[in-house]
């Protein structure tokens, strides 16, 4: 059995590499975008908030799987062609940005008006207030919810399977179908568990860093 595991491990690990790539790029792009849209959702300019609300409703109200299929198989019909990887990333970033925007909106709204006023009488600019006072407080508040989404993302990334990207799940499935054994799927589960364990550990560290103040 060990020989068999060693045999299929390289293909599983290369699948895991793809999973991680999609994971990292989605996080790196969608968290900052989520902050920006979250700020937009708290703005007083109604057309902007209405537009973002519509976007969030659309992205949260339809399955990510549908969005993936729509981008990769649907959009070419009207002449917009992505390659597989870009299509996956595009759909994931669009989808996760919507969730992060909602999370950051909640965090932003929980910062008391007094904090802004106290910054204003100290003559800090709006951006200085955001950067030094508001955003750090919002981050502390949203860490648990963001953590949930981040863990979800690791597992959601398996959906790219449907547009033919060779991720971890696909690698396992291919091996199981070929060799008629459960081992590859069990290994896939173990690798996902290891990935989420690492992310959980990192999230714990981040949370601890922010627990020096209340």
């Amino acid at each position: 059995m060990l020989n068999y595991i060693m045999e299929i491990l390289p293909s599983l690990l290369s699948g895991a590499g793809m999973t991680l790539q999609i994971f990292f790029w989605t996080i790196i792009l969608s968290i900052p975008l989520g902050v920006i849209l979250g700020l937009g959702l708290t703005s007083k300019f109604k057309p902007l908030t209405a537009l973002i609300k519509f976007y969030v409703w659309l992205m949260r109200g339809t399955p990510l799987l549908l969005q993936l299929i729509f981008v990769f198989y649907g959009l070419p019909v009207i002449g917009i062609v992505f390659d597989r990887y870009d299509a996956a990333l595009f759909a994931f970033v669009l989808n996760y940005t919507a969730y992060f925007a909602e999370i950051f909106r909640g965090g932003l709204q929980s910062i008391l008006k007094g904090q802004y006023e106290s910054a204003k009488v100290l003559r800090l600019t709006y951006w200085q207030t955001l950067r030094k006072i508001v955003i750090p407080q919002v981050f502390k508040i949203v860490i648990p919810s963001v953590g949930n989404e981040v863990i979800n993302l690791i597992k959601d990334s398996s959906l790219v399977y449907v547009i033919g990207i060779g991720d971890l799940l696909r690698a396992g499935n291919v091996a199981t179908a070929r060799d008629v054994t459960l081992i590859p799927l069990v290994l896939v589960g173990v690798i996902y568990l290891l990935l989420t364990a690492v992310v959980t550990y990192i999230l714990g560290k981040v949370e601890a860093r922010y627990s020096t103040w209340r």
Binding site: L112, Q115, V121, L122, R123, K132, K140, T212, R214
Partner: protein
């Protein structure tokens, strides 16, 4: 010297401040008193630039100035809020030096040096690296005072400085305010506590609720 000329403030259709005329002399303590709902806090918020007045003029040493727009000029008004509004994510030292560094463009060393001097005066030495949640109410208030003073305001305003504190700390607040006066600071104190006002004030301005 700060002069308010015919200052009025209306929220929707409610007139909160009706033609207020008021002078704050340099180096003096002016107490604004009155029952709650009379507009004391609104008056203080207008002076500190948190509310735009509906009509009227502010004069600083005879020159017109608009606290609401006043951003680029020298610091004029410092504010100590009723609930202090320290920044919970910053240490005491960072709370105090943030604005001097970002707004007055002081170096870290300069800002920290000045902060230490002012902290020592208000008995806060040794608290530099604590976070606000680790301080008592009185300490938070003193940090808020040092934070406001660090911007070198011409006038320091307090909103109900005794209300968030234990009654036995009132004496301490009195001595801090009187101590700052001896150093030449002009101060405006909003309070509903008449005894407190009479103990510290050079001048008392009564705000009465408007009958509608």
């Amino acid at each position: 010297m700060l002069t308010l000329k015919d200052i009025s403030k209306q929220f929707d259709n409610r007139l909160i401040l009706d033609n207020i005329n008021l002078t704050v002399k340099d180096g003096e303590i002016l107490c604004i008193v009155g029952p709650s709902g009379a507009g004391k806090t609104t008056l203080l918020r207008s002076i500190s630039g948190l509310e735009r007045v509906t009509s009227g003029k502010f004069l600083l040493d005879g020159q017109a100035f608009d606290p609401y727009e006043n951003r680029e000029n020298d610091s004029v008004i410092g504010v100590v809020f009723q609930d202090f509004q320290l920044f919970p994510n910053l240490t005491v030292m960072e709370n105090i030096t943030l604005a001097p560094r970002l707004v007055l463009k002081k170096t870290n060393e300069e800002a920290e040096q000045e902060a230490r001097e002012k902290m020592a005066q208000l008995n806060l030495a040794g608290k530099e690296s604590l976070f606000p949640y680790q301080l008592s109410g009185g300490q938070k208030q003193r940090v808020a005072i040092v934070r406001a003073l660090a911007m070198n305001p011409k006038i320091l305003c307090y909103d109900e400085p005794t209300s968030a504190l234990d009654p036995d700390l009132r004496q301490e607040v009195e001595s801090i305010i009187v101590g700052l006066k001896q150093q030449g600071m002009t101060q405006i104190v909003v309070t509903h506590d008449m005894t407190f006002a009479e103990n510290i004030a050079d001048d008392i301005f009564q705000v009465s609720p408007r009958n509608e």
